[in-house]
């Protein structure tokens, strides 16, 4: 009788491992961005030293998620719980994906930040990264103590709003600046990519909030 099997504990362990990987992916993203920020450019070693580690963790997250999905279909949970966990994993998996995209964009477009906007890009990135870490935190909280989810959600919500405002002002500043048009396009695209981190974090948080209400009625 699989009712007494240890599969469920396995899933919980696997989910925790997945979240650790997602967190490491974001940490690597921060390291890579800091390298880019200090050097103000991607340079020769950027692909090997910055993009590859982020990609490695993003890829490990994907593999782990696929593995969890696979073991969950071995009937070890109620279909309802399985559906909720799958939803969470699916929405959370967008976070390492977006983190990688930010670093990938730096490399692909060989970005450099104009001096007058450098600090503002850094600030925008930090706000979004805070939201991303909080998103991982909210998912962990959901799997440990659903009651604490609401407080974290509010924090993410504020960070996302803050990011929106910062994005808007930064985009306007870039538009009216004297930098070349092509660079303007790249920078705006980059702003949107950074902003996606807090957008996705808010999506995760919203979903988690709804599911936590369901768990605790």
């Amino acid at each position: 009788m699989f009712f007494f099997s240890k599969k469920k504990n396995d899933i919980q362990t696997q989910v925790n491992e997945y979240l650790e990987l997602a967190q490491k992916c974001i940490e690597k993203c921060v390291d890579s961005f800091e390298t880019f920020y200090i050097n103000n450019g991607s340079g020769e070693n950027f692909f090997r030293e910055c993009l590859k580690p982020v990609h490695k963790f993003e890829s490990q997250c994907d593999d782990k998620r696929m593995y969890i999905e696979y073991i969950m279909y071995e009937k070890s949970l109620l279909s309802e719980s399985r559906g909720d966990i799958l939803t969470i994993l699916e929405v959370t998996d967008r976070l390492p994906n977006k983190a990688e995209m930010v670093i990938r964009e730096i490399y692909k477009s060989d970005l450099t930040l104009p001096d007058e906007f450098k600090e503002r890009f850094h600030e925008l990135f930090l706000v979004n990264i805070k939201a991303a870490f909080a998103a991982v935190w909210v998912v962990k909280a959901y799997f440990e103590s659903p009651k604490s989810v609401v407080a974290i959600h509010e924090k993410i919500d504020k960070l996302e709003s803050q990011s929106d405002v910062m994005q808007m002002h930064l985009e306007r500043a870039i538009t009216i600046s004297q930098i070349p048009d092509l660079q303007k396009i790249f920078l705006k695209k980059f702003i949107n990519m950074i902003g996606m981190l807090s957008d996705v974090s808010e999506n995760i948080s919203e979903r988690i909030k709804i599911l936590s209400v369901k768990t605790v009625f």
């Binding site: 699989f2 009712f3 949970l77 109620l78 719980s81 966990i85 440990e144 009651k147 768990t215």
Partner: protein, 308 residues
Amino acid sequence: MWVLSSSIIMGWALGGNHAGNIFGPAVTSNVFRFRTAALVTSFFIIVGALLEGRAGLETIGNLTGQTDTQAFICMFSAGLVVVLMTLLKLPISTSQAVIGSVIGAGLMGSGVHWGVFTKVVICWIGTPFAAAFSSLIFYILFSKIIKKINPNIFQMDKIIRWGLFFCCIYGAYALGANNVANTTGVFVKSGVITPFAGLVIGSTSMALGILTFSKRVIKTVGSSIVQLNGYAALVSLFASSFTIHFYAALGVPISTSQAAVGAILGIGFVKGLYLVNHKTIIRIFLAWICSPFIAIIITMSLLFFFQS
């Protein structure tokens, strides 16, 4: 002893048809495999019948006095009603068919003890209300306890699974205690068998019905109840099992389907939702009205035919 064949067939049909109300959700939720669920339920139906089934035997027996031929015709008629209603795709309550048959026999023979009958009818009317009320109370009570525990998704999953496991056992116990009288009650009163033999034969035939006949029914009933959501399904099952057990203690066989629907309505009430459609309510009401009356008519007709 050949007269008992009708009783065994009735027990078999009863077990096969009604077990779905009890352990369908546990099977469709993958808490149990069918075989395990069927074995566990069969075992606890026998335990429930042996420990608490006697009161129901007395109620059926006290409705009217019968000879062994009348008892056979009663069970035969009740069985016929079950088959007929099933063929006509009309809902059926086995308890009401059996008691209807007993009343029919009483009207043709030694008379009916209307006091006992009144008690039975009051219990029938009370069944959906009692189930709805208990599910409402249990829903609120369990929710408060669970809120205090603040379980995460894995713990909640475990609570629901263990709860369904417990309800499966409790429901089987209650079903055995409540419905065994439907199968052999008339033969105990007529002296064909002893009460203990009645409980053993009745519960064993119900267990046989579960093991051989319930797979399809379980899938249907289980899926429709589980769609509520895990927690609501658990509470509705517990509430209906509790109601069935409550009436077993009073010695009145009731319809498990009516208890199940009542319990679901109770949850709908507390959640502000209407969880049972009008069609289901009408079907249950039809069963409530048709089962006993058709049973009375068939029994009286058969007795009239045999006696004349």
